[in-house]
C-alpha cells in the first residue's frame, strides 16, 4: 500500500461522481412518480423470470442477428469490465496495486477475457458507428425524431466507449512494460497489451505517467459517463431492468378498462348501484376530477413514464409499425421520446444540462400543425394525426427489446381526444353513433342481423336458433 495524496483525491472524485448521480437519479424518480398510480405488485416470480430472460438474457434482441451479436459483445464487455472497475476502486481508495491478483489463475483468466472483450468492443463500436453514419444509415436510425441531440448522443456514446477502452489498454500496456523493464513478474495475462508494448516508450518515468494517465482516464471517464447517462438513451443500461420487471403480464390485446367509467355505466344500467365516493385529499377536501385518458404526462400511468426513461431509441418499434412503414406520421419511438422530453420540460430536468429539449423543432417535422397554445404532451408534442394512424396492432410492443409499450400511451391519448374533447375524426363519430343506435358499427338495422341464415342450406331459421 502506498497511501498518498492520490488516494484522497480519488476518494473525493468518487464521492462527487456518485453523489451527483444520486442527485440526478432522485429527480428522475420524482418525474416518473408524477404519473398516475398503477398497482404493479405481486407476480414476483413471473416478473423476475421475465427480467432474467428479457433484460439479462436479451432474448428479444435476437430477432435481428447482426445487431444482437454486436450488442452482446458490448454488453458482456460492460459486465466483465465492471469487475475491473471494482479493482480500480479498491486500488484507488486504499493505494493497493492490482488488488485482485490474489485470485491467481482466476485473475489471469479475468484479465485475459477483459482484454479480448475490450478489443471486441472496439470492433463492435466501429460497426455500430458505421451502421448509423453510413449513407444512407440503417433505416431505423433515420426519421425526424432522431436528428439533432439524439443523433449526437448516439455517437457520443460510441466515442466514449472507445476512449474508455483505449484508457484501459494504455494502463495495462504501460504497467506491463514497466514490469518487463524491471524484470518483474506482472500478475495477470494480457493478450492484447503484450502486442502493444513495442509501441510504448522505454523511459520508466514516461511509462509510470502513462500508467497513471490510463488509470485516471478510465475511472474518471466511467464516473463522467455515469453522470452522462441520465441525459442519454444510454440510460437504458440501468432502466431496462426495472422496466422489464414492471412490464405487462396480461395478453397484449387486453386494454385496461377505465374504472370510473365502469361505475358510471353500472349506475346507468342499475339505478340502485352505489358509486363509491370519489377519493379525497388527505385534508378531506375534494380532489380535482381526473380527466379521462391522457392529455399530459401526469395523466399517464407511472409505468408509461418509466418506459420513456428506458427507451434506447433503437427504433425497432417504428421499423415494424405498419403506419410508419407506409409513410404515415406515426412513429411509436417518437411518442416515447416525446413523453420523456415533455416530462423534463414540465418537471425536473434531472440533468446538469437539458439536451433532450434541444432540437425539438427538427423532431417535429409537422411543427406547423402542433398546437403551441396547448403546451401539453397531446397537441404540444404529439398530434392527433399521429394517434389516429395507429392500428393497435401491437407490433411495436412485440418488437421492443426492453418491453416498452407505446400502444398504451397512444390509446390513453385517443381516450382524451374522444371523451374529453369529442375530437374524433368524423367517420369514427359516425361509427360510434351506429353502435349506439344499431348495435353495430355499420348502419344496418339490428332486425337484419339474422339474414345470413336466409339461404343456409341446412334448414330454416328456426332450426338454427333452436
Amino acid at each position: 500500500m502506498h497511501f498518498s495524496i492520490q488516494n484522497i483525491l480519488f476518494l473525493l472524485v468518487a464521492i462527487a461522481g456518485f453523489g451527483l448521480f444520486a442527485w440526478q437519479a432522485r429527480k428522475i424518480r420524482a418525474n416518473i412518480l408524477v404519473g398516475r398510480d398503477r398497482d404493479m405488485s405481486g407476480n414476483v416470480s413471473e416478473r423476475l423470470n421475465k427480467t432474467l430472460l428479457v433484460a439479462f438474457g436479451q432474448s428479444k434482441m435476437f430477432k435481428r442477428l447482426t445487431p444482437a451479436f454486436l450488442h452482446l459483445i458490448v454488453y458482456v464487455g460492460f459486465l466483465v469490465i465492471n469487475v475491473e472497475v471494482i479493482e480500480i476502486m479498491v486500488d484507488g481508495i486504499f493505494g493497493t496495486h492490482r488488488f485482485l491478483q490474489f485470485l491467481g489463475p482466476v485473475y489471469d483468466a479475468l484479465m485475459a477475457t477483459n482484454e479480448i472483450l475490450g478489443a471486441l468492443v472496439i470492433v463492435a463500436v466501429v460497426a455500430f458507428w458505421w451502421r448509423r453514419n453510413r449513407k444512407p444509415p440503417v433505416r431505423r436510425f433515420q426519421g425526424p425524431e432522431l436528428r439533432m441531440w439524439p443523433k449526437l448522443d448516439a455517437n457520443i456514446i460510441l466515442y466514449v466507449e472507445v476512449i474508455l477502452m483505449a484508457a484501459l489498454f494504455t494502463m495495462n500496456t504501460a504497467d506491463l512494460k514497466l514490469h518487463q523493464l524491471r524484470g518483474a513478474d506482472m500478475p495477470g495475462t494480457f493478450p492484447i497489451s503484450s502486442l502493444l508494448v513495442g509501441l510504448f516508450p522505454t523511459s520508466e518515468t514516461a511509462l509510470h505517467v502513462l500508467e497513471r494517465v490510463g488509470w485516471w482516464a478510465h475511472i474518471v471517464g466511467i464516473l463522467c459517463f455515469l453522470n452522462y447517462l441520465p441525459s442519454s438513451k444510454h440510460f437504458h443500461i440501468i432502466m431496462a431492468f426495472p422496466n422489464v420487471y414492471y412490464s405487462r403480464l396480461v395478453p397484449q390485446g387486453q386494454f385496461s378498462n377505465v374504472e370510473s367509467i365502469t361505475h358510471e355505466v353500472k349506475a346507468m344500467m342499475d339505478p340502485s348501484y352505489e358509486v363509491p365516493a370519489p377519493a379525497t385529499a388527505p385534508d378531506g377536501s375534494a380532489l380535482a376530477p381526473t380527466p379521462f385518458g391522457a392529455k399530459d404526462v401526469n395523466d399517464l400511468a407511472w409505468t408509461n413514464l418509466l418506459n420513456a426513461y428506458s427507451c434506447t431509441e433503437c427504433g425497432r418499434c417504428t421499423s415494424v409499425c405498419p403506419a410508419n412503414i407506409t409513410g404515415k406520421l406515426l412513429s411509436p419511438r417518437k411518442i416515447i421520446m416525446d413523453t420523456r422530453d415533455r416530462m423534463e420540460e414540465k418537471y425536473n430536468s434531472p440533468l446538469i444540462f437539458s439536451p433532450n429539449l434541444y432540437g425539438q423543432e427538427a423532431k417535429h417535422e409537422s411543427q406547423e400543425v402542433l398546437d403551441k397554445e396547448n403546451h401539453t404532451l397531446l397537441r404540444g408534442y404529439v398530434t392527433p394525426e399521429e394517434l389516429w394512424a395507429c392500428t393497435t396492432c401491437n407490433a411495436c410492443v412485440e418488437a421492443c427489446p426492453v418491453n416498452i409499450n407505446p400502444l398504451e400511451s397512444i390509446v390513453e391519448m385517443r381516450r382524451f381526444l374522444v371523451l374529453e374533447e369529442s375530437a374524433a375524426p368524423n367517420s369514427l363519430n359516425v361509427m360510434f353513433s351506429n353502435i349506439e343506435n344499431n348495435g353495430a358499427p355499420w348502419a344496418f338495422s339490428p332486425s337484419d342481423r339474422f339474414n345470413w341464415a336466409d339461404d343456409l342450406f341446412v334448414a330454416d331459421k328456426e332450426a338454427v336458433t333452436a
Binding site: P251, V265, I325, E398, A424, L456
Partner: protein
C-alpha cells in the same frame, strides 16, 4: 337462443357471429360455412340472433371507453342471462374483447376462436377433410391477424387447420409474431387512412402475392422485413392453378380482398377464411 332457452335447454356452445359475420356480404358466407360445419359434426350450438350487439371493440380501440362499456355490460347481461359458459367466434376482435376485457366487467366465459375450434374438430377426427374440394398441391399462405396472433398468441391453430388440407403452405417473411397488420385494426376499418405513401393493406397484399408467386425481387423491396428469422423464399410457381390467401378474421378478409383487387389479381388469387376452406374440403358447400 331465446327459443332454446324457452325449451329449458342450454347449448354446448354459443356461436358469436359478430357484426361482420352478420352484415358483411362476403363474411356472411363464412358464417354460413361455419354453421354448416357445426351442423355436420352435430354440436349443440346456438346463436343470439337479434339479441347480439357489437362487442364494443371498435369503440374501445378508438378511445370511446364509455360506449365500449355500455356495449359490454349489455352483452354480458344477455350472455349471463342465458347462462352461457362457452363462446366460439370467427372474429378475433370479438374473441379478444370477450375473452380479455369482459371478465373485469362481470363476463367470464370460455372463449374460443374458430381456428382453435376447427383444429380440435380435426384432431378429434370429427372433421375428416375429405369428400369435397381437394387442396392438394395448391399454394396457400396464412395472414396472421394481429388480434389472434400477437394479441393472444394463437399462431399454431390456423396453421394446423391448413396443414390438414394437405396444401402447399408457404409463410410470408413477416409472419406469426412478426406479422404485418392488414391495416384495419384499431377502428381503422371505419375511417380513411391518414396520408402516407401507400395503404397498409397494399403493402401486406404485395407481400402475400410475392410470397405466393415466389417473387424474391418483390420481397426484397418491402420495408421492415426482419432479417434474422426470415423464411426461405419459395421457388416461383409455374402451375397456373390459383393460389389462396387464408385469413381468420373478417377485417383481414376485407383488406386482403381489396388489396388483391387493387393489384388486379382476382383471377388467380383468392382470399378464403379457414372455415370456408374446411367446409369445402369436407364437401359442405351448398
Amino acid at each position: 337462443m331465446a327459443d332454446l332457452a324457452a325449451q329449458g335447454e342450454t347449448p354446448e356452445i354459443l356461436f358469436w357471429v359478430g357484426c361482420a359475420g352478420a352484415f358483411d356480404d362476403r363474411y356472411k358466407r363464412v358464417t354460413r360455412a361455419f354453421v354448416r360445419i357445426l351442423e355436420h359434426v352435430g354440436v349443440k350450438y346456438a346463436v343470439l340472433g337479434m339479441e347480439e350487439s357489437c362487442t364494443g371493440d371498435p369503440a374501445k380501440r378508438a378511445g370511446n371507453e364509455f360506449l365500449f362499456q355500455m356495449q359490454a355490460m349489455q352483452n354480458i347481461t344477455t350472455l349471463n342471462g342465458y347462462g352461457i359458459k362457452k363462446v366460439v367466434t370467427a372474429c378475433p376482435h370479438c374473441f379478444n374483447t370477450i375473452k380479455n376485457e369482459y371478465p373485469a366487467l362481470g363476463g367470464e366465459y370460455e372463449v374460443i376462436h374458430h381456428s382453435t375450434f376447427l383444429q380440435q374438430l380435426i384432431n378429434d377426427g370429427r372433421v375428416k377433410i375429405e369428400g369435397g374440394e381437394s387442396y392438394k398441391g395448391r399454394r396457400i399462405t396464412f395472414h396472421d391477424s394481429c388480434y389472434l396472433g400477437r394479441s393472444n398468441n394463437i399462431y399454431e391453430a390456423p396453421r394446423a387447420v391448413l396443414e390438414a388440407l394437405d396444401a402447399d403452405l408457404v409463410e410470408m417473411k413477416r409472419s406469426k409474431a412478426n406479422g404485418l397488420c392488414c391495416g384495419a385494426g384499431g377502428a381503422q376499418m371505419w375511417k380513411e387512412p391518414e396520408p402516407g405513401k401507400k395503404d397498409v393493406n397494399i403493402e401486406r397484399t404485395e407481400e402475400a402475392l410475392a410470397t405466393l408467386d415466389g417473387n424474391a425481387a418483390a420481397l426484397d423491396n418491402l420495408y421492415g422485413v426482419e432479417s434474422g428469422n426470415a423464411g426461405a423464399t419459395p421457388a416461383p410457381k409455374a402451375n397456373a392453378q390459383s393460389s389462396i390467401i387464408a385469413v381468420g378474421c373478417p377485417f383481414c378478409m376485407t383488406m386482403m380482398s381489396d388489396g388483391v383487387k387493387n393489384k388486379e389479381r382476382e383471377n388467380n388469387v383468392q382470399v378464403f377464411d379457414l372455415a370456408e376452406l374446411v367446409a369445402s374440403a369436407e364437401g359442405l358447400n351448398a
